[in-house]
Symmetry: C2
Subunit: 460 residues, 2 copies
């Protein structure tokens, strides 16, 4: 009987536990969960805070009862303090602070990520929030309910920052988003698509300020004062800091687990670390990128589920390899869906490709049928080989943008050439598409531009 111990009860940890029990119903699987919320949909917090999801309990991917039914032993509100990889034990603190030593045959580390706390003076003042755990969500919700803020400043323009701009606007709060750089969502899409997102924010009266770095936050008689570069002095009732995450790899590193990119736990495609019988999965570790063949740090829930599944299977004797991430992602901001898969120009160049990115526009369905929306698409391909490298799409969230990027993700998974997208037999009816789908129209635009650039080796 394999004793499998898992540190972390979010997506990767629970996926590992469930898969281990599915493959080996005899395995004794224990999951150490830092809080009382195993396998909650943390990415659903903005929708709880917006009021769209009335009850936070609905955010559970699976209930503790369901997990228990699968024969998994959950230890909620327990904290792993130290790993002994020689004695094969983990020291764990229980809710009362008492320490226990848990033995393991196999260990899966799934400790996730922690929000980056930027060096801002006063960041711990009341009224300043981060958003990463369920507890963070409750704290912010209480603040909204009790203090009824009329204004908010959001520091950071990634997913959480923009989803929360949307959520707070729904409460009638006047929101200002501060960008350190020039464009929002710069880690996700190129500047022209980011501009469309900024228009959407402005259409909903979210104020945007570019090129400002917050240096300090102070309390005033009226509330909070946010001070920064470019003469920034903004009074507000609420500050949300959402400037990204970093891997929670300290516990592992202290036990001798090797780390790599951005301090994330180094893993191979079997999700093995450098230590025998120790696996890692999810946001605490590196991710193998299928297009570049290299490890990156790309924390995404979808990846955490997949990596956890692989780790759990291998921890009970399986031989599975993680098929790799393409970085496929989508975020909804007001009425827009912003999506991306694969590489952008700069990443492709860094990986040794010769990228060409071509932007095109197409209707989500035949324009004569009511409710057509224009989708803007950027396809990146290698100008020497014609290989598809990545794509970005922005359009109305009900224009099937999210599943269109998935068609491209499937193509990318198989290493298709851009031109070959035209060979895919995709569905069509006038209310839902075109005889050549948006993704194929984009491919045709890419091939035309590539050919006009003198690449005659392409089958155009």
């Amino acid at each position: 009987m394999t004793r499998l111990l898992i540190i972390g009860g979010s997506d990767a940890g629970i996926a590992a536990a469930l898969r281990a029990r599915e493959i080996d119903p005899g395995a004794a699987v224990t999951v150490v969960v830092a809080d009382a919320f195993p396998n909650y949909s943390i990415c659903g917090l903005p929708f709880y805070l917006s009021g769209e999801v009335p009850d936070w309990r609905a955010l559970a991917h699976r209930t503790a009862e369901e997990i228990g039914m699968a024969g998994i032993d959950l230890l909620p509100e327990h904290t792993a303090r130290a790993i002994d990889p020689v004695g094969k034990t983990v020291a764990v603190g229980d809710p009362a602070g008492r320490m226990r030593s848990l033995p393991y045959d196999r260990l899966v580390i799934a400790t996730g990520a922690v929000p980056v706390r930027p060096p801002i003076a006063g960041i711990d003042l009341p009224g300043i929030h981060l958003l990463h755990s369920m507890e963070d969500g409750f704290r912010l919700r209480r603040y909204l309910d009790e203090r009824a803020p009329r204004s908010a400043v959001i520091v950071g323009t990634g997913y959480i920052g923009l989803e929360m701009a949307d959520a707070l606007t729904r409460h009638g709060i006047a929101v200002t988003v501060l960008k350190r750089g020039q464009v929002v969502l710069s880690a996700t899409v190129d500047a022209t698509l980011a501009a469309a997102v900024e228009e959407e924010l402005q259409r909903h009266e979210v104020e945007l300020r570019s090129g400002v770095a917050v240096e300090a936050i102070e309390t005033t008689a009226a509330g909070l004062l946010v001070v920064g570069t470019s003469g920034l002095r903004q009074e507000t009732d609420l500050v949300l800091v959402a400037v990204g995450t970093r891997p929670a790899s300290e516990l592992a590193a202290a036990a001798g687990v090797a780390t790599g990119v951005r301090g994330a736990i180094r893993v191979n495609r079997r999700m093995e670390t450098n230590l025998p019988d120790v696996y890692a999965a999810g946001d605490c570790g590196e991710t193998w990128h299928r297009v570049t063949g290299q490890n990156v740090y790309l924390p995404l829930g979808t990846t955490a589920h997949k990596q956890g599944r692989v780790a759990g299977e291998n921890a009970v004797g399986g031989q599975r390899e993680f098929a790799g991430s393409l970085g496929t992602q989508v975020v909804k901001v007001f009425d827009l869906a912003i999506t991306r898969t694969g590489l952008r120009d700069q990443e492709a160049t860094a990986a040794g490709f010769a990228p060409l990115t071509v932007e095109s526009k197409a209707w989500d369905h035949k324009a004569y049928y009511p409710g057509a929306h224009e989708i803007v698409m950027r396809i990146t391909g290698d100008r020497r080989t014609g290989q598809l490298l990545g794509a970005q799409l922005v359009g109305h969230w009900q224009a099937q943008v999210a599943k269109r990027v998935d068609i491209l993700a499937a193509a990318l998974f198989h290493g298709m050439k851009v031109e070959e997208l035209n060979d895919l037999d995709l569905s069509y009816t006038p209310p839902l598409g075109s005889p050549w789908d948006v993704v194929q129209a984009g491919a045709q635009a890419w091939v035309r531009q590539c050919r006009s650039g003198g690449n005659t080796s392409l089958r155009v």
Copy 2:
């Protein structure tokens, strides 16, 4: 200078013309168009007739001006009467009935399909309509406008029949749909999914009668009387007959072009017929099925565009092969989208596979976010090899069902195993998906059932 003559101005013909001019700007391309509506979206007619599309002119995929701008010579309202493959000419009648002989170096036959006219006595009476051409659409629209029918009988339960049940219901017309068999859309989806479509029709007060064959239609003082088996005697103001199409291959056959499946023109993957320099594309010809590797008759607009593109390219010296059809299709009926790609059980068995079809249900996005819809999915795979063979999905038309079937079509294109769908890196945000997308949840259900059936060779 290649003289390329194309017979047929719908999807395949125009696609061939445009592609030929793109590849060889020196080619002299002439298209013989039987009516005055080159490259109209015939599949948009139900939406014109429903009133959702107010102006029929909007149905043009491309205007005659756009086609002319591409340097294509259109001959509208001309009819090809005979092909002389030895002298390489086509005899064509102009609008005044005068005959001309047009020479060609290469010929593309894209004569499309014609609606099947079942042996019903009285089928030519006024008030009885078919729907295949723009002219058919105008005739029906005039009948609706001038006669304001209050009731309609639709004979046939394919796409046109059900789209028109939807369209006529929007006019306040009481619609009865007559099924020869037991279920609607029997050529598209299995009985359990067809049942969901029937519920949707009934929810919109469309009456369904099963197992009846229409034998005669008569005029009465009140209007029309539809008479058939099972004691059918139904009075109505309007009858629409939509029982499918057959390839319009007579002109080609008379010239010695070989025909095959269901009388369709036999073509290879280069879209060549048996005669030198004569190509065929679209609904008049056979279609190579990528999963079975065999030719079938599967008339779809998407396929016509692709085949036309291949034929046009090869006709001016190209070397392209049609990548094959998967039969990917979608139809919208009221609020449902019904989709399918690949093979169903009986087709898979006939092709030598050992199919297993597993039905599952999943929410289109996280159920906690408002507006979630359940999608019902049937995945068909080979129980011996685990190979994906096909899939059917039914769900709310705004639940990204159409582009989800396209993810499966992309997987099928690459010969993936069902289990490997879990390796695809698909996008996720709570309002638009789940960490494991619907298609992956369906794959997991299939693998579980396959394994419980004793197939231990699958990597589960």
